[in-house]
């Protein structure tokens, strides 16, 4: 019975969910993605102590995305956007350094980008219990000749703090 009621609450939640800060009309899951969150799905951490959660991402072959600090102001940086669940404090988020990349038509102009797989390290402190870290990685991808609008790849990690 409880399971059924929980299902109903979940279903009604789908229909009337409140918009979170990063949400648009098109949910991240509905957008065609150039970047995928790989893992972890679940992490175990020590309760009440700062821990580092390594979030692994993969960029589709042939594409690159701006690093978290693009060299030009108008370029869109890669950002991790998460809502702090109750009982979890998110501290510093460390992004890897970008690699130099030049377009064939402008070999002297260096862009700071990520390609392939990369890891974002989030420093978190969780109270004892199970928490869902839910958010998105905002990025803007390009290939050698074209760029695609900024997108948000969903990120979800189950945090078990003991």
């Amino acid at each position: 019975m409880r399971a059924l009621i929980a299902l109903a609450i979940l279903a009604s939640g789908i229909a009337s969910a409140q918009k979170l800060p990063w949400q648009t009309d098109e949910t991240p899951a509905q957008q065609p993605q150039s970047v995928k969150f790989l893992y972890p799905e679940q992490v175990s951490v020590a309760a009440g102590k700062e821990s580092v959660v390594e979030l692994h991402f993969k960029i589709n072959p042939g594409l690159h995305i701006n690093s978290h600090v693009p060299r030009e102001k108008s370029f869109i940086p890669t950002q991790l956007i998460v809502a702090e669940p109750t009982g979890v404090k998110i501290g510093q988020v460390d992004f890897p350094e970008g690699s130099d990349y030049s377009l064939a038509f402008a070999p002297n102009e260096k862009l700071s980008v990520y390609t392939g797989e990369f890891v974002v390290r989030a420093h978190i402190t969780a109270q004892a219990g199970e928490h869902l870290l839910d958010g998105v990685l905002r990025y803007q991808a390009c290939d050698t000749n074209a760029c695609y609008p900024p997108r948000k790849a969903p990120v979800a990690v189950d945090i078990v703090a003991r």
Partner: protein, 232 residues
């Protein structure tokens, strides 16, 4: 008994809502796939490379896969960065390069200086270039919107753009295939018809050949397009 009815109603509602969410999600994905297919279909069939252009002089370029090929370019009225209204239809009689770009698009910033020079070169023959910014705008926040528009204007100034830069209203790009890859450029002849289109950064010679085509010249160069590599 009454409680059992309530539970049944709740379960039925839950199932209906879940089914509805699934169908809505499927439709959205299907629409997105169709849109991408349409964009890919807009890639032109390659015409002979420059070395073979002479042999083909005078022939019509192959562009049957472009859904807008030979059709009148969808009209629009947009405001430029100074707030002036600009309509595509007001350029009838001129050849128009319609370039969709964004401030965050690095390949666009390579193409734009070429367009500036080509506009100067061919303006006396009746060429105009219109840039349409595809930057995201926050329409609900006036202060933010004003800043975003100013950022577009600042980028245009920094790039020394010498042609009108229009700000998309999120609707204009739809009849052009729902622009997803930038730059995307349409070449429109004096009668308002689309004679060529490219997705992604094209070669400068190809851009010039397409401009000549839109002006009524006979030179044809490969109209191959790029992009969509790896994009789902």
């Amino acid at each position: 008994m009454k409680r059992n009815y309530l539970v049944i109603v709740v379960v039925v509602v839950a199932v209906v809502l879940m089914a509805w969410a699934g169908v809505a999600n499927y439709r959205k994905r299907k629409e997105e796939q169709d849109r991408l297919k349409q964009m890919q279909a807009m890639m032109m069939t390659a015409t002979p490379p420059p070395s073979a252009a002479g042999a083909n002089s005078g022939s019509e370029p192959e562009m049957m896969t472009n859904p807008l090929a030979g059709k009148v370019a969808p009209d629009f009225t947009l405001k430029d960065t100074t707030g002036r209204k600009v309509s595509l239809s007001s350029y009838k009689g001129k050849a128009v390069v319609l370039d969709f770009w964004a401030t965050w698009c690095a390949p666009c910033k390579i193409e734009i200086p070429w367009l500036e020079k080509l506009r100067d070169q061919y303006a006396s023959q009746g060429l105009e270039v219109l840039g349409v910014s595809e930057d995201d705008l926050d329409l609900d926040d006036k202060a933010k919107l004003a800043k975003e528009k100013q950022d577009i204007a600042d980028s245009a100034t920094k790039l020394h753009i010498n042609y009108p830069v229009l700000i998309d209203d999120n609707e204009t790009s739809k009849p052009y295939g729902g622009i997803d890859a930038l730059p995307t450029t349409f070449y429109i002849d004096r009668n308002g018809k689309v004679v060529a289109a490219t997705i992604g950064l094209a070669d400068r010679d190809e851009i010039e050949a397409n401009i000549q085509k839109s002006l009524g010249g006979q030179k044809t160069v490969g109209s191959e397009t790029q992009a969509q590599k790896g994009q789902p």
